[in-house]
Symmetry: C2
Subunit: 212 residues, 2 copies
DNA sequence: CCTTTGAGTGAACAACCGTACACTCAAACC
DNA sequence: GGTTTGAGTGTACGGTTGTTCACTCAAAGG
């Protein structure tokens, strides 16, 4: 089982490497096509392996898609950890959160793109997986919100509704940034301003909301 | 040019009919696949014509997609007309608007599904066409909002931001209704409740917003 | 050291794809 | 009434797809 570490790759390292290569290639292709229109052969061609070798790693393209969902939401969770680190002052928390979002969208562009596209895309299993993950994410946000001083009297349903509103606004923001003309900072800055204003509007609404 | 009206179809009537049949078939197929993964042959097979006949009506599947975008937003504009007809009382306007939305989503289900799926789908031209239409829609809503008494002092930018927030929430609501388990009224009613609450939160936020 | 394992190979398949081209034949036109 | 037009036909083509099957051959294991 255990061998002395040699310079050459161990067998499972090698396998893990091509698996990651497949995921990367698929994500790369899915940036301009949708997952449903992506062919197994296209992926293996880009990886540099023969089509049939694909099955050593995934039973189908659908399974590949589910793995990509996992991968994407792992990086998303990393993002929310960064947000939690921010200072809890109101004005700062808004600008900071949007900033973290924008930053993560930039260097996890492919993941966000994938989620945005496949959320309502052609592969049902992937669709429901994303919906489920997004729901978990929303629930997490709701419990975070519950800890804020102004919102501790809210019902859990109202918190969920608020979290849903925020998540939707943020998802739209992310999708806007992704499909904005690349590296034209004006359009992007406008989107960021909009996002910040919307969050502030939502917060103002929340502050004046009396839970029924 | 002009002939006496006979029982048989005129030539252009016939052409228009198969064109509509193509659009309907494509919309039907796109309900479970995405447009990018839809084949010309699949469509013509469902219509009952030979593949090459497709080109008499559309130069490509992309053009078909753009036609579908037009068709879909035509019905959406019809919806907004219905909303304008509603009474302007605050509580009523929210419940009424959500009601109209839900109703239209139900009997234009395929159109809404198509827009939701292709908004970030695999065909760039269709994507940008939808984005453009949605932007027009948003602008219309902003001018509608400007007529409300509480909002007449707002800057046009703030109105656009507010309209964007509302449209995003409504789009999410529509997508939620579409992908809710069909004809299970509980899930759908929960979505409707959420949508109404979110609109109310946004309105509360707007009411307490001082335009900068 | 010999055996087992399993990631990757390579050829072959049936099915489907988009599109080119020459055609029919009834309605539209002069 | 003869001619033109154009929606729809039928065949055929080269290319891509998913999946099968028997295979190699180096690392892992006893």
């Amino acid at each position: 089982m255990w061998c002395v570490e040699t310079a050459a790759e161990t067998r499972q390292e090698r396998k893990a490497r091509t698996r990651r290569a497949i995921l990367a290639a698929a994500l790369d292709i899915a940036d301009e096509q949708s997952l449903a229109a992506l062919s197994l052969r296209q992926v293996t061609r880009e990886v540099g392996i023969v089509p049939t070798a694909f099955y050593r790693h995934f039973a189908s393209v659908e399974q590949l898609g589910l793995a990509l969902v996992d991968e994407s939401f792992a990086s998303l969770r990393e993002m929310i950890r960064d947000v939690r680190r921010g200072n809890p002052e109101l004005h700062g928390v808004i600008r900071g959160s949007v900033g973290v979002l924008v930053e993560h969208v930039h260097d996890q562009r492919a993941h966000f793109r994938f989620i945005g596209r496949e959320r309502f895309g052609g592969v049902p299993a992937v669709r429901t997986a994303i919906r489920h993950e997004l729901e978990l994410f929303e629930r997490e946000l709701a419990t975070d919100l519950a800890r804020l001083s102004d919102l501790d009297a809210w019902t859990s349903e109202d918190l969920r509704v608020l979290a849903n509103l925020i998540v939707n606004a943020m998802v739209s923001t992310a999708e806007g940034i992704i499909s904005a003309p690349p590296e034209q900072p004006d359009a992007e800055r406008a989107i960021i301003r909009t996002a910040e204003k919307q969050l502030r509007m939502i917060v103002v609404g929340a502050a004046n909301w009396r839970s029924s």
